[in-house]
């Protein structure tokens, strides 16, 4: 059974390429959402095993999406990892206790993060 990964990020070029690369491994099903205000409804439909969440996004930022996720009984237990361009990679676990990884990131690094965060 392939693990389901949701990527919420307004950078469409980035999410599309990540999706292509992760799906090439045949280990994951990937859904991308470029509109953060739709993140909750997309997540409810897709039922992801892990959510990658960008921080700086228009309209609703990563913090806002996280708040809504954690207040949703159906989604509150889904692990979340911040995937952002505003911190350095050595500053993991610094944002509200959620693992934070820095762009740019290689697929191998991303897969390591996925393995660590999905039981």
């Amino acid at each position: 059974m392939r693990k389901k990964i949701l990527i919420v990020d307004d950078e469409k070029d980035f999410t599309e390429l990540i999706k292509l690369n992760l799906e090439q491994t045949h280990l994951y099903d990937v859904m991308t959402e470029n509109f953060p205000q739709r993140a909750i409804s997309t997540a409810k439909k897709f039922k992801p095993d892990l959510i990658f969440l960008d921080i700086m996004m228009p309209k609703v930022d990563g913090g806002g999406v996280l708040f809504n996720l954690k207040n949703d009984p159906q989604l509150k237990n889904v692990p979340v990892v911040f995937l952002t361009a505003i911190v350095n990679e050595d500053e993991t676990d610094t944002i509200s206790g959620y693992q934070t990884v820095s762009k740019p990131i290689t697929i191998d690094q991303l897969m390591d993060v996925i393995k660590k965060n999905i039981k």
């Binding site: 950078e11 361009a85 740019p104």
Partner: protein
């Protein structure tokens, strides 16, 4: 044979002209004593300034009982029973001549007997000190003319002294102002770098992320046999990494870079940092020498940040020794005066050293001598920034011209974070 009074007055006038050319208060005081003895004919002359506590006199320049010029001749309590000083204080006269009194040296010891003159140094508002003169060595008689000459001399000195003092104060205020201005510019620069960094990071890292994913995608689709394509993709990947490393350097200034402090042993942090540069060390055939204190006290640091400090310093040393050399790393601790320990790391290389003319610029952000080789000029700026955040210190100096550089990092151990 003593010169006539008139001749000595002319001499005094010339001496006054020479004194006015003194460039500092110290030079003025030295000249007063030198010219007072060589030109005005006193054996011994000394300057005593009234201390902040008016009960004390502080000796400036003077001539000792063997005729030698001395600096900071001593300290004296202004005693109520000092008849000369009392005379000046009570009579408000400017000088006094006493005959057959004990003559003293700088530390107050009696070294002979004879006549003695003291004259007040008046800065225009108050008595700031006294000139004292005698003929201890030649035993030449001292008379009323000598007293008048010394009084005039002291008055000239008083005016020049207040002038030079004011000049010095203005100069030092100006240089303090310059320093503060420099610091303000530096911190304004840092602030600009900080706000630029977080903005630039987001705007640049996102396109870089797209490029890296694209490179990986194409690499996955390209036949393994197409070596030209794979080499090209590898070059592109390195370019992305290079751009990202510059952005990461900038980010280290920005507010989003938070520190997390844990107690750490610096010896092991050094080993970790050395492993990160081991490739460069081997390539340049550099011999590393470890002189570690074994029971080094722990310090509370952000280990990633300090590792970065060390890597930056190691790389600077390695660049200085492309054809081999020695990298000496030393650790030690010292008891701090206010409790706890200070822990030190010293990093020495055997490269050519830093040209003196750029020494005061090496910590400036964006200052680099390796622009062509891809230097960002942020390495040492980051080092200082990180050490500041640890309440630590970094000092970098040439050991001896042409004999390499020594960097010293100092960490306090008694900081609670």
């Amino acid at each position: 044979m003593k010169d006539s009074f008139e001749k000595r007055l002319r001499t005094l006038h010339e001496v006054g002209n020479r004194l006015s050319r003194a460039e500092s208060v110290e030079e003025l005081c030295r000249s007063i004593v030198e010219l007072g003895t060589s030109e005005l004919g006193f054996d011994r002359l000394s300057i005593w300034f009234v201390d902040k506590n008016p009960k004390y006199l502080i000796g400036s320049f003077g001539v000792d009982e063997k005729g030698r010029l001395r600096k900071e001749i001593g300290e004296r309590v202004l005693r109520d029973d000092d008849p000369a000083v009392r005379h000046i204080h009570t009579d408000r006269s400017h000088s006094v001549l006493e005959a057959g009194v004990p003559l003293r040296n700088g530390s107050g010891k009696v070294v002979g007997r004879g006549a003695h003159i003291i004259a007040t140094i008046w800065d225009g508002q108050k008595v700031v000190g006294y000139l004292s003169a005698d003929n201890l060595l030649s035993k030449d008689p001292i008379g009323e003319h000598d007293r008048e000459i010394l009084e005039l001399f002291a008055s000239t000195f008083g005016h020049l002294y207040s002038l030079k003092k004011a000049e010095e104060e203005v100069r030092s205020a100006y240089s303090r102002l310059k320093d503060v201005q420099h610091q303000l510019i530096q911190s304004a620069k840092m602030e600009v770098v900080g706000s630029l960094a977080s903005g630039a990071a987001h705007e640049v890292k996102n396109p870089l992320a797209v490029m890296l994913q694209g490179i990986e995608y194409i690499a996955g689709k390209t036949e393994a046999s197409d070596r030209g394509a794979h080499t090209t993709l590898e070059r592109m990947r390195r370019a992305v990494e290079k751009a990202d490393s510059i952005i990461r350097g900038l980010l280290d200034f920005s507010a989003v870079s938070k520190l997390s402090y844990t107690p750490q042993n610096l010896n092991s942090i050094i080993e970790k940092a050395l492993r990160l540069v081991s490739y460069d060390i081997d390539r340049s055939k550099i011999n590393t020498v470890r002189e570690f204190q074994k029971d080094l006290p722990d310090v509370r640091i952000d280990d990633n940040k300090i590792e970065q400090v060390l890597v930056n310093l190691f790389l600077n040393s390695i660049y200085q020794m492309p054809d081999g050399g020695k990298l000496i790393i030393r650790t030690y601790s010292k008891k701090a005066p206010r409790g706890g320990f200070k822990v030190f790391i010293e990093i020495e290389d055997t490269g050519p050293g830093i040209p003196e003319e750029i020494m005061d610029k090496i910590f400036n952000p964006f200052f680099t001598t390796r622009r062509a080789a891809g230097g960002t000029g942020l390495g040492l700026a980051i080092v200082r920034n990180i050490m500041d955040m640890h309440d630590g210190k970094v000092e970098i100096a040439n050991k001896k011209v042409g004999h390499g550089v020594k960097a010293v990092l100092a960490f306090p151990t008694n900081k609670r974070r």
